[in-house]
């Protein structure tokens, strides 16, 4: 179980690193805040995702522009459910289990 003094690091990527990744980041920050978890949410462009993850330690990656990013060492979640609201609950279930494992 994640303890309160640990920070969860999430990389959120979208096509341009500005638009949809911002929406997902806002919703993730809200979620972590409600759970009482400390989290750092970093935004980036999908083309840079692999390099960013290789150069810095992240617990997971959330992408709104396809999850096939060539990343193997960190779990990658599809962030589209946070934009549409469909499948949002499954998304958070997966998120919770990733946080618990890390």
């Amino acid at each position: 179980m994640a303890t309160s003094n640990r920070t969860v690091r999430v990389l959120v990527v979208c096509a341009d690193g500005a638009a949809t990744s911002t929406v997902v980041s806002v919703r993730l920050r809200e979620y972590f805040e409600n759970k009482g978890l400390r989290a750092e949410v970093v935004q980036g462009r999908v083309v840079d995702a692999k390099t960013i993850v290789e150069n810095s330690k992240f617990d997971l990656v959330v992408s709104t522009a396809g999850s096939n990013l060539g990343i193997t060492n960190v779990p990658v979640l599809n962030g589209v459910p946070l934009l549409t609201g469909i499948g949002k609950d499954q998304f958070y279930t997966q998120l919770d289990s990733i946080i618990q494992q890390s």
Partner: protein, 471 residues
Amino acid sequence: MGSVFNIVIKAFGAAVLLPLIILVFELALGVKFSKALRSALYIGIGLNTLISILNPYFMGLVGKAVSDMITGAGVNLPYVDTGWSLLASLAYSTLIGALIIPIGIIVNLAMIFLHWTDTLDLDLWNFWHWAFVGSLVYYATNNLIYGLLSAIAMEMFLLVIGDATAPTMQKFFNLPGLAWPHASGQGGTLIALPVKWISDRIGLSKIQLNSQTIRNKLGLLGDASVIGFIIAVIIGLIAWGSKLSDLQVWGSLFALGIGTAAYIFMYPKATAALMEGFEPLTSRVTELLSKSGSQRGLNFGMDSALCIGHPDVITTGLLVMLTTVPLMFLLPGNRILILGDIGVTPFFLASAITAIMGGNIITSYIATTISVIVTLYFSSAVSTNFASLLTTIGIALPDTGSAVVGADTRPLHGLFWMLGKWTIGGIPLGLILAFVCIFAMLFFFRRNKKAWYRAFGYEEEQHEARTEVNV
């Protein structure tokens, strides 16, 4: 009503007025006050950073070189694209922009109710595209109704196109339940159809290239900031090429390149603040509408940005981005330098096109390149009035000599701008034509959906979508 609004917007400026409008909408829809206030502030931050800090910096930097290029070397490219955020800022700073969100939602709901569309567009932010075109028409014709009708025509057209492309795009991008009535992402769709039709017949569609190999070969050139640097240095070389013995000139040349790269790097950050401010409103509307929407089996309209991470779209976008650089300088009659959006426009245009082409890089490249050429011509045409329109609504611009801020106007924006302002003897011929075409599309699409899906690239026997989602 229009003139009162113009006085108010001039007095307050977009960076103050748009936050207020959004605040009112959010409170009306029951968003918590503290959240609404914060979001309004973030919209103000985003607009202020774009309009008052980044844009003047960039125009000031590039303006001198572009001016020298025109007067010294006679290369007549006076309009400088500083990125789509300025267009969005303009769009939301007019009366049409203030009305577009409620009107856009009402038109969409009415079309759903009449069974004219199966798309519920939840991508509120991107209503700006319609407001942008509507505002251009409004100020060109001085007729608010024409402006509003242009915006509505564009929305209706995109909802139909969103429906027609949904099966193809859902399958190709592996994103079920969504549709993309996005003006830039669908910008090349009408161009893709004939290109696909011809390519299928001459066998071009059968030649497949590996997109990953192409991407690996591009290396450093795959970065928009690097391309921005290169374009700026080209401009500098044309402007000051005869004075290269002077060390000072070399300094200016590299300052220009690095400043441009910095701008392309920074402006998505300001946009992110704007998007963050918009989020509570989108979130609230999604909450209110999405449940009944999914009960009826509607597709949710989304930003085409969701499609741009696809490897084939990235590869097509990168190749077209590289092609755009010589095109800007060599295309006869072109007057615009695409700088801010050099890493944006080719990718958005490539999104629907690549899906329609089933991931074929060659045909996608051809259709996207044609779309960019159309964009360059529309941008050249729209930009003649763009700067004066910005001043009219109170966006101050630095004096940059012969260089003027331009508008990156993609194919559908340009099309509806032309239709909207086309009147003969007081009769809005273009608008009549637009609505006749939209209703004809609706009629024929409803009658034979399968044939339309196929024309837009849908293949039933096509095996599973190629993007894997490892969730």
